[in-house]
Subunit: 361 residues, 2 copies
């Protein structure tokens, strides 16, 4: 993987990635923006015992681009520069212009609850220059490159003293609130291990302390023994709807061996993971012959310290429960934390198993 | 409060409530339904360490009513009976026809993760016979009656040996996935304290063990000292956007004194709470001159044991962040459990403070 780091005119970093040498002379661009410098802060929620991020500047976007302007398109009109310069590269990562987390803010309002600056980093990961495609439609080699990029960004952000946890994710589809259809993901680098990941990791840690194998390895073993919920697999990776899925089409993609960080996978393990991910995403889009929205998170180990119990996994939670019906989160889910799944994982897995993916891919 | 309990033709209970005597001779009705007997079950999520409910029968609804038929309307056509009989009463509660929790199922599938029957009760609370109104438009005396009904149902369900926690809630608006616009709420009675409430209660318990007053009392004191986020209050109750709100318009309505269960409020405290709730809900609807969707949960003490630290509160989380923009839950919220609020509680509170409510109410 080749990599080049540039600085945008407004001081934000831009990282370019490619499988071939990136030529010299690419100049980083940035959209024109007269918005205020972002100063997100956090407030302590004493009942939930977690931090809440306040980023009111995100409403102040004063940038008024022409119709059809996309900040994720390659820059062509010098009057309306985008986030991406023209040039020969494959994948780009840059700091979010409207971050919920940053490393420069030093102040937070004084309130009767604890407050602090919202320390961390928010990045955007542009998967391709083609605005019309999707992650699952990219060649396996490109998906493999994207995984290498996520591994590299996790490693690099992990070197920042303030950062404890790096969460790559993709929101896909207007149903998930996405406003830019250009294929892209995001990275949130937090100054703490977030509550969801803290719970996952604690369960994994407790399990390994009592067994000779990890919790995810036990789940993988059980799923392979049962077989009914497996969507696709190869030597290195497995995609399945877990027996305890909270969403009808919730699917996990895991390396079969216990690896805490993407950066610790061998190159063949990473390619195997990319191949399984691709087939799964293709099946999603083929299921109803339309783009299948989802939230995909990459749950890894924390970036500081040793976490031998951690087993990374992609968790993909599509918001649909059937072709025309969204799964709304309401009373029991949001209010109590108890999910009601109107379908059985075994049945939803069969739907995806039955989808045939063209051979060429 | 007057109350009458009847049994529907299909064996489900119907409870009728009124401020005046309910006449004899009302016969409970039920929609015709050829669906299978519901058998929800639960599966253990080993990473989140919580139960997930599976209720696949909810997709099997075979009942095909005429257009404009509402199961929550008063029965008029004997060929298409509804859930509510004709008669002189104000509020009705009945067991949900498609429950996620019930007390009759004894079986659960055998899987490699722990499973069990989904024990508990799901009820529907019909606030009024008028299908066109809303909770906030009802007279304060009716809202007071509804709170008495919720108190009564919590007490009664609390007597069931299996039940540990009773959660009344209202999903309002199509944005929350509501398909029946007739004003109604729901009650979920769980066989365990759900994870969200467990966290709230643990925070309250820990706080009281170190202070001479409760955590919610401290929050109320702080909010009243600061003053910027208070929407409406009277002698007995307070409505405010907490300093640490996760949603832009998230509002809490609390009795000023520490009360764990609605049933422990004096009649004047309950009426005071109803009055504050009404003004808040009116302000929501007046803010943009359109019905304001929300999820409202009533967080109480568990129904078994003593919980002197518990302080009940209504938590109201509207899904909008501005007139035309929904607050989508995506990567950081659903994936990590860390909320980003694009606005400041102080600013959103001012918007609601500025809404004038007609005097008569």
């Amino acid at each position: 993987m080749h990599k080049k780091t540039l600085m945008k005119p407004d001081g934000r970093f831009l990282h370019l990635f490619s499988r071939i040498q990136i030529p010299e002379g690419i100049v980083a661009t940035a959209p024109r923006n007269a918005g205020p410098v972002p100063k997100p802060h956090q407030r302590w929620h004493p009942l939930r015992r977690e931090w809440v991020i306040y980023a009111p500047h995100r409403q102040d976007r004063t940038f008024l681009p022409p119709k059809n302007y996309s900040p994720l398109a390659e820059s062509k009109d010098p009057d309306f520069p985008t986030e991406l310069p023209a040039g020969d590269y494959e994948v780009a990562v840059f700091e979010n212009l409207f971050p919920s987390l940053n490393l420069t803010t030093r102040e937070a309002p004084t309130l009767r609850v604890p407050t602090r600056p919202s320390s961390g980093v928010c990045e955007v990961v542009v998967f391709t220059k083609d605005p019309e495609t999707a992650l699952g439609n990219l060649p396996p080699e490109r998906i493999d490159l994207i995984l290498q990029v996520l591994a590299d960004r996790t490693t690099e952000l992990g070197k920042v003293p303030e950062i404890q946890y790096v969460l790559p994710f993709e929101n896909r589809g207007v149903e998930m609130g996405v406003t830019l259809s250009h294929p892209h993901g995001q990275i949130y680098a937090y100054s703490f291990v977030p509550p969801v990941q803290k719970r996952f990791l604690r369960s994994m840690r407790d399990y390994l302390s009592e067994h000779s194998h990890g919790l995810m390895e036990a789940i993988i073993f059980d799923e392979m023994e049962d077989g009914r919920r497996i969507i696709v697999q190869n030597e290195f990776a497995l995609a399945f709807i877990p027996a305890f899925a909270r969403y009808p089409y919730e699917t996990w993609v895991v390396p079969k061996k216990r690896r805490g960080l993407l950066s610790t996978l061998s190159s063949e393990e990473l390619l195997g993971l990319a191949q399984v991910l691709k087939v799964l995403l293709q099946k999603f889009d083929l299921l109803w012959a339309k783009p299948f929205p989802y939230l995909m998170t990459l749950n890894q180990a924390p970036v500081k310290g040793e976490h031998p119990y951690a087993h990374l996994f992609f968790q993909i939670t599509p918001p649909y429960r059937s072709r025309d019906r969204l799964k709304y989160l309401a009373g029991t889910e949001l209010g109590a934390g108890i999910f009601v799944n109107d379908s059985l994982p075994e049945e939803k897995a069969r739907e995806l198993q039955d989808v045939e993916v063209p051979r060429e891919s």
